[in-house]
């Protein structure tokens, strides 16, 4: 019996935090590749500490719904899941290349496949592009348009910036958008000065965040100048200093994220049948214009 466990941050204050986790879990359930799909959280229930005991299957894949490798994926999740003998060296990662580690979870005395985070998987690049398509309503968006991929920056976590750069580079190499920039909230180049970094009249701004919350709904819109006060809201697009900014909100809310979760499990050995193709098809509907 093959089981998928999606682990995510969650929130004590904001129900939007876990909403994408539930949405992607539902998409994957509908694709039918797993006998069960469970969700576990750091701030909600079931907690990381208790999620594995809700799992019935004996072939268990744990996929962290986090944007980068770092404190959560390397320390908190393995500790709270009680993965015996976890050592970050198991991933042999340069900060972007964590794939999976197979370890016994002491809580259930069974092996689990602990996967790298969704945010650093190469398939995440497609989700960022899809997000740009969704927010502009244009499945061919790119020509004459700039793309800004925005992350926290190194003050929080060195690997966070690595993930942002990685995807920005990959999108730039596709020659689809006129310009692609990696921008940050707390280091240069800063998202506050967005129009300075682009010549294009239209710029799509995609935050590399899992869920909408304080950073994507309050910080970035105010920093970029989409609004003076986030409670007043903003239009998409909004013109800032002659640049038309298409603000996408958290990339993690894009339905295609379910595909990255599946890719992570497949890389760790899960048998998905035709689920990957199913999910790519069903999530495509969401971009219809």
């Amino acid at each position: 019996m093959q089981s998928l466990v999606i682990v995510a941050h969650g929130s004590h204050l904001n129900p939007d935090s876990s909403a994408p986790t539930y949405a992607h879990a539902d998409t994957i359930r509908a694709a039918g590749a797993f006998d069960e799909v469970r969700t576990g959280f750091w701030k909600e229930e079931p907690h990381f500490r208790e999620v594995l005991r809700t799992v019935e299957g004996d072939d268990v894949y744990v996929v962290p719904l986090f944007v980068s490798e770092g404190y959560f994926t390397e320390q908190v999740i393995p500790r709270e899941l009680r993965l015996d003998d976890w050592d970050v060296a198991e991933w042999d990662s340069d900060g972007l290349s964590a794939d999976q580690a197979t370890l016994v979870a002491e809580d259930i005395e069974r092996e689990v496949h602990y996967c790298g985070p969704v945010g650093t998987h190469e398939a995440m690049t497609d989700v960022i592009v899809r997000r740009a398509e969704s927010v502009t309503g244009d499945p061919d968006v790119g020509d004459g348009v700039g793309l800004a991929v925005v992350g926290h920056g190194t003050e929080r976590n060195e690997n966070s910036a690595k993930a942002v750069e990685y995807h920005a580079d990959r999108i730039r190499d596709r020659d689809r958008f006129d310009e692609v920039r990696a921008l940050y909230m707390d280091e240069d180049p800063e998202v506050d000065d967005l129009p300075d970094f682009f010549e294009s009249e239209d710029v799509v701004l995609v935050p590399l965040f899992i869920a909408d919350g304080y950073h994507t709904q309050e910080d970035i819109p105010e920093d970029v100048g989409l609004c003076d006060d986030y409670t007043e809201g903003y239009d998409v697009p909004t013109v800032v200093d002659d640049t038309r900014v298409w603000y996408a909100g958290a990339v993690g809310t894009e339905p295609l994220m379910a595909d990255v979760v599946l890719e992570r499990a497949a890389d760790a050995g899960a048998d998905l049948g035709g689920a990957l193709e199913d999910v790519r098809q069903t999530t495509r509907v969401a971009t219809g214009d």
Partner: protein, 392 residues
């Protein structure tokens, strides 16, 4: 257990043996050794040794009666149809509920399958067996083919006609019910006694009722099951705080080896039944119990939850302050009013106090009057500076 109806001695319903249950019996017998009979309540059945050219015959051994041997498949069907309650009971748990320990234990507990006979359970199921789980009211019934069906609703809706409730049948739909309370506020703790009412999951099968409960009260059944099995992994306050890292690493400094009164206060604030329906099983440490009652919940709490850890982080900082003496001039009624306001907020009662109920010290108009009279323009009580160095 409050809301429980014990199996009664009303009449046993007529049960018809469904073909899927009989087929499952035949499949099971085909895989067993002849000396490993299949046991139903009151009767065992086994396949008799046969060679490949002859149809299998069966032996049926009713407890306390003469065994029947050489039964054809048709004769076996007839004999088992006469004992359809026992056979469908086996089928329900072995083939529909399945092996997963928490689910199996929970569904057997609902109808006391490890205590009562099939006959008395089926009689009780015909009437409906009801169990409480937190704020849930779960009612189990049986169809005339021996299948279990379940109804889940809020305990407060026990007497409400189902037509008056919002009907659901997909367990995952329960997520929308648990996200906010009746006032529309986000519920950060799923076991808080703030589950809203007005809905019903009806005609659920065994797996669906389990998933519904798992969605509303995550991991409570697995933890309850582990406790019943004697292996609940309780993590006490000290070890839980010692495990914290990052921004929560500071909480371990709150324990200063000067007793555990602060943890009593945490448990009284966060873990009382009025705040969380789990029964607190964790203590200060392995040797030191807290002085506060753990509550009466049916499912256990095995360690301080993330909400408690977050609050403890805040209290660690606040409690590092030293007390100071302040002097305020208040009338006796004003002192009591402050106490009433703290009580009303702590008990979640502030919003319920009627607009014009000026007898209640926590009434809004009373609070506004006190503020107008006793606070200065900076919002300072009686003009007394919080930090004496700030006093003018």
């Amino acid at each position: 257990m409050g809301d429980t109806t014990a199996p009664s001695s009303t009449s046993v319903p007529a049960i018809e043996l469904p073909s899927e249950a009989f087929d499952a019996v035949l499949d099971e017998l085909a895989t067993r050794d002849p000396d490993e009979p299949l046991r139903f309540e009151g009767v065992t059945v086994e396949a008799e040794a046969s060679d490949d050219d002859v149809a299998t015959t069966y032996r049926l051994d009713p407890a306390g009666k003469e065994p029947q041997t050489g039964l054809s498949e048709a004769a076996l069907h007839e004999a088992l149809d006469a004992r359809a309650s026992a056979v469908t009971d086996w089928y329900a748990f072995e083939h529909v509920v399945g092996e997963f320990g928490p689910r199996r234990a929970f569904l057997r507990w609902i109808e006391d399958a490890d205590g009562e006979t099939v006959a008395s359970r089926y009689a009780a199921l015909a009437e409906g067996i009801t169990r409480a789980w937190g704020e849930l009211r779960i009612t189990a019934t049986v169809t005339d083919r021996g299948a279990r069906r379940y109804d889940v609703r809020h305990v407060d809706d026990a007497g409400t006609p189902v037509e008056d409730l919002d009907r659901y049948d997909d367990p995952l739909e329960a997520r929308e019910l648990v996200t906010t309370d009746a006032a529309g506020r986000y519920r950060p703790l799923k076991t808080a006694p703030t589950l809203r009412d007005g809905w019903a999951f009806t005609d659920l099968g065994p797996k669906a009722v389990y998933e519904t409960v798992e969605t509303i009260y995550p991991a409570t059944v697995p933890n309850w099951h582990r406790e019943r099995e004697g292996d609940l992994d309780v993590s006490h306050w000290r070890e839980t705080m010692a495990r914290q890292s990052g921004i929560y690493g500071v909480v371990k400094t709150w324990d200063r080896g000067e007793g555990y009164e602060h943890v009593n206060w945490v448990a009284e604030a966060c873990c009382a039944d009025s705040q969380c329906l789990k029964r607190r099983e964790w203590e200060y440490d392995e040797e030191t119990d807290l002085d506060v009652d753990g509550g009466d919940g049916v499912f256990p709490c095995r360690e301080p939850c993330s909400l408690v850890v977050s609050a403890a982080r805040k209290w660690t900082r606040l409690e590092s302050e030293q007390p100071r003496s302040y002097t305020f001039d208040l009338t006796p009624s004003e002192k009591e009013q402050l106490e009433a306001i703290v009580d009303a907020v702590a008990d979640g009662r502030a919003a319920e106090i009627r607009e014009a109920d000026v007898k209640d010290g926590a009434n809004r108009l009373r609070a506004r009057f006190l503020r107008a009279k006793r606070f200065d323009d900076d919002g300072t009580l009686c003009g007394v500076a919080t930090d004496p160095d700030d006093a003018e």
